[in-house]
Symmetry: D2
Subunit: 383 residues, 4 copies
């Protein structure tokens, strides 16, 4: 099939943040082309955005409903192959559901939905339709995150005992939602963000990262959520004790009031015979620790890494790849799977490695249980 | 008074670890000399240790009782001025009590006693006698820790919102107490260590560091202690949620099964307008964060630091000072206070800055409450 | 003009390294599309490569001569707008010259040509035709490199006194050219690489970076080039003393036998009142030093950076951008200038910031003079 | 012999810098006691300094001549065993020569003398008298420097190809000698410092470090020395190309005008099969690189280090030791050798590892040849 995979986008018009990231991520590996979009609930803004992206006017729509309906009428190969949803949380479910019901594969930003019920409906739809659904928990796209996962799986650090996953940010340390910061305003609004503030926005990334690398599910949480900024209705800080499968213990804390922190997602895992440490802001290094020896600094492209890590990098050692490349790895694997589907073949195992609707549902349950525990007097709440 | 301050030591004979550290710490600034000791409960070992330290045979004692009794009979200026107690936890109380009752100042290793009751008795004794008592929570001796404390006090980061203090170590990740590792064996023995394992050994350092820098007391804890190594009776890992005075929240975790970690005490504090970050393994740097600007890396000896930080360093910028120098700062300040007492003067304010019996008592209460919370179903336990 | 800028590529077929980098760099910002190519001197390989890139068969050519000739016959808007040259060094001049002579703008990989004479001819052609020529000294595309340049220009570190620029790599530490390492074989061949080995490949990057940031020309060199690996005919290591305009002094060293080094380009600059330090492998940080104060760690996206730095980043602070994004900044600015030319407008100043044929010529002169100095007994050789 | 080794000090009175460092270094391991001194050429200042150190008045002398003469008359065991010389460069030779001629062992600060001739005379005296002479090139006292030396010796990185040793400082970036900065004034005065400015003060440390670790002598230099600060008569910056025994090449640069740098001595060495990297400001880490694998971060106290490294540390892994401890290692080994001499025994091999008069002489030759080369037109000058 000698053509690129065709993407339609919902959201991501002028002034948006994550939409631009998705477009870059889709463009990097030159396997996907943007063919249409409903970039804004404001039709004029959608139209202007379409011009920015050099789209023909008749492929720029005023709403996702229109887009899905009209595109469906186009012949295969001309119409979009999948929908990419990059709207605020409360507008994930609608387009995702409609896309799936109309036969389109879906890429959706996280958290997957507004609440657990919506996620369960989507999960059922994905299972029924057999369509391909990718959730952009993009941090699992990093080569050294994949390396870490393989090493845990291979038993390189022994049975996991302790996990510390952190996600400090500082950009909501003051009441920026009262300024014209567009990113802030919907994130702190329970009607748009859901029941979690920092929890939904970044806590779910931390939870997903921990479960992805360790291969262990979080089974119980003991949490304290706080809204430090006066008048803010959702949490902007969370400290959580974790219990995981197999007796592992952990700590997850995230914050958006940690002044001076940028996007400090990081994780440390200790097993019976070794340890791993990874920092998102220096993503090309994975520290590997052992009982006797000194710490080894694994680096993308250096020495013998796992196939999963190697497949996720594009340039040799010392040529730093970052956030956009990791994000692109989700799109690359998704595109490979869509192409295989279109060609009637089976994608390779490594290409199937991207976050799924299942991950999305777990994230929603995690947020719900953490909020529930934080509000109550019970010490531990089961997931 | 033209002489050094005279130290008698309890414990710290051949094969011990922390005794040697105390002797170096006392020696560095050349204000203190070791004049006598009861270095071991084994008189022969005590004698041989005395020879190692070039002490005359008649100043090497078979027990602390003997030492205190005999030294008391010597004239001032010849007899020891203070006792340094460097024995395992369960042998702190006896010599400390007897020293105070006989008019000797005391330096005591941490945790101060075996339990809360003993600490309360010592506190009362210190208050009654007016003698000088220093507890070697040595990590507060670092210049950049003092700098951090001053900056919080000065409001440089605004009202404190969040504290994350960590103390991962890995040396007890396997059952080393079954080998001849002398340091391990008593630390994992409830009869010698007290009710806390990692909690008593390093958790108290973390607690003390957090309270020292923030100037805030921990008011409530929610904890999970674990003994990961099979057959170990005391905790070797702890994850704790904190509430502090003034509404601040926090996380304290420490571990002795964190494979590959050396002595990773570190702390991050975020206030309303700034943040601080310090790592014990790179102690000469203090990261200072702010709402708008980039992170500034304060360094010992560089630029205008507080008097407290400046007084705590000996060599210019770029000449790294470490653990022993920080430890020595406790002894230096203690010695200055003892000298002032002997000379009938008042020491300067900076020299009064060393951990006290009050800190010791708080540490014991912290351990007790954390253990209590971990064993129960109550979410929060008040200190 | 509602279309993307159209790129034709010379070289970069299956198995090549830098061609893929150029395609990604061109794709990231979605301003450029690949429309044709002569991807290999082997027509079959060129054809297969064209299929990889989803190109129509009639736009995949067997040689660059054919490509330029045929494309020129196509109408504007359909034909390519520019040629991207990603072949080994000795095949830069031919396609660049022919492209310019036929009215096509050019992006060319570095070093610009095989020798100084060729570079001079190209420079003359660029001046005569007025066409746009970009040289991919990609490391100047990093936001913090641009920040450094602006700060020097603004006098933030005072008059420059000393520059240390380094480029250690280790991948040629053994005789990999005797294996099937395709990247190594032509780089160590004087007939394909030119008179410089490591000098041409990475030394020119270091030279360009130093001159770009300081705004000062290197005026004299004193060099020692070495071929450490037995039987290698070109240098694989270089140590060079520099004199720069205005009395500044410097050191440039680069190596491809520095075992264990990845792609360690870095630079430190000290002026009369401040200093700057930047490392390519952690490109989002710029250390800024001053006479009195502590070091400030500038970070992409944090605080008030220069317009040049801000324009060169795509995602917020803490979302690391790397090598590919910096490379893309060359293409982005180039595309903006080509678009302005096509639309008859003037590009903004920031978009004009990409390496030029002038930089290419300086690089060739630098290599020539360094080689000359290294071979002779003269201490200093003027550029 | 149950007593401490007895030290007399020349220089190091109130207001001095390096004298205090020597006293701490001598005190740390409690093997040495200060028994007398001629602390200043000003007798009153010497007397007051003696009081600071709790010395009896009759052991505080007005000149080194008086000290050596009077101490020689005291019985062994009461008189000093050795002289520690901590004066400015031009006052090293006199006391060192007289001490040796009168049978006293010597510790001398670096550079050993004012010029090569003096160093040769001392070398001859040391050989004739058989007395023990230690030069405080203190940076070779670090455990990880010793580890590096052993690894090179063991062939762990193969035959050495390239050495880069750097020593940037910034404290003389302005004309501080015109202020009352006592440390600066004599260092920039050719009558007190010798023919090298930065070269003598820190360049010799860099040279010594490179030769110590590699075990290779520098055979030729090509240098450019600069005095950047107007009116300064000695170099405050140096860039030097090196040739070493066995065909190794190198770069040595040092500076005291590198604004914002503290005490940045560091070294990188690459051999045929591996590499080493060490930074004085983070002295407890040694990076070890290899052809295939990732970089391993050796740390003091972690894993299986060489006996030389292990013997040079006092506390376990993660308890940072720094400048003073490394300095103390020179004194510790020196004291062990003196004690062995006094007891008529042979010290162990590890204790013999401290810089000698031979190192001192090499340093003086290095300075002389670098200055000569920098002033002339010859490209390479042989040492």
């Amino acid at each position: 099939m000698s053509r690129k995979i065709r993407m339609g986008m919902v959201g991501g018009g002028r002034g948006a943040f994550i939409g631009g990231v998705h477009r870059i991520a889709a463009a990097i590996d030159q396997q996907i082309e943007l063919v249409c979009g409903a970039f804004s609930s404001n039709p004029e803004k959608s139209r202007l955005s379409g011009e920015d992206f050099f789209l023909p006017a008749d492929r720029v729509y005023g709403s996702y409903e229109e887009m899905i309906t009209k595109e469906k009428e186009l012949p295969e190969g001309e119409r979009m192959d999948f929908v990419s949803i990059v709207t605020p949380n409360h507008v994930h479910f609608g387009p995702a559901k409609m896309a799936l019901e109309n036969g389109f594969h879906v890429v959706c930003d996280k958290p997957v939905t507004f609440n657990v019920e919506e996620a369960q409906i989507l999960k059922k739809l994905v299972e029924e339709t057999g369509l391909i659904f990718a959730l952009t928990h993009n941090y699992t796209g990093y080569p050294m995150v994949k390396q870490a996962r393989v090493m845990v799986e291979n038993g390189d650090i022994g049975k996991v005992r302790k996990v510390v996953v952190e996600y400090p940010q500082g950009w909501l340390a003051t009441k920026v939602e009262d300024t014209d910061q567009k990113q802030a305003s919907w994130r702190v609004d329970p009607a748009k963000s859901g029941m979690g503030g920092a929890m939904g926005d970044i806590g779910t990334h931390a939870e997903n990262l921990a479960e992805y690398i360790t291969g262990l599910k979080i089974t119980e949480v003991c949490a304290e959520l706080t809204s430090f900024v006066e008048g803010r209705r959702l949490d902007d800080d969370a400290n959580i004790l974790l219990r995981l499968e197999g007796g592992a213990k952990g700590v997850l804390h995230c914050s958006q009031i940690a002044v001076g922190e940028e996007n400090g997602l990081n994780i440390r895992i200790w097993g019976e015979t070794g340890g791993l440490e990874w920092h998102q802001q220096e993503p090309n290094t994975l520290q590997v620790k052992s009982l006797e020896g000194p710490t080894v600094h694994y680096r993308t492209g250096v020495g013998s890494l796992s196939d999963a890590a190697t497949a996720a990098q594009r340039v040799p050692a010392g040529h730093p790849e970052g956030y956009l490349e990791a994000f692109a790895n989700i799109y690359k694997n998704f595109a490979t799977c869509v192409r295989a589907r279109l060609e009637g073949t089976e994608p390779d195992e490594l290409s199937k490695d991207f976050p799924s609707i299942e991950d999305g549902l777990r994230g929603m349950i995690f947020v719900e249980k953490v909020v529930e525990n934080s509000r109550g007097n019970e010490k531990w709440t089961k997931l």
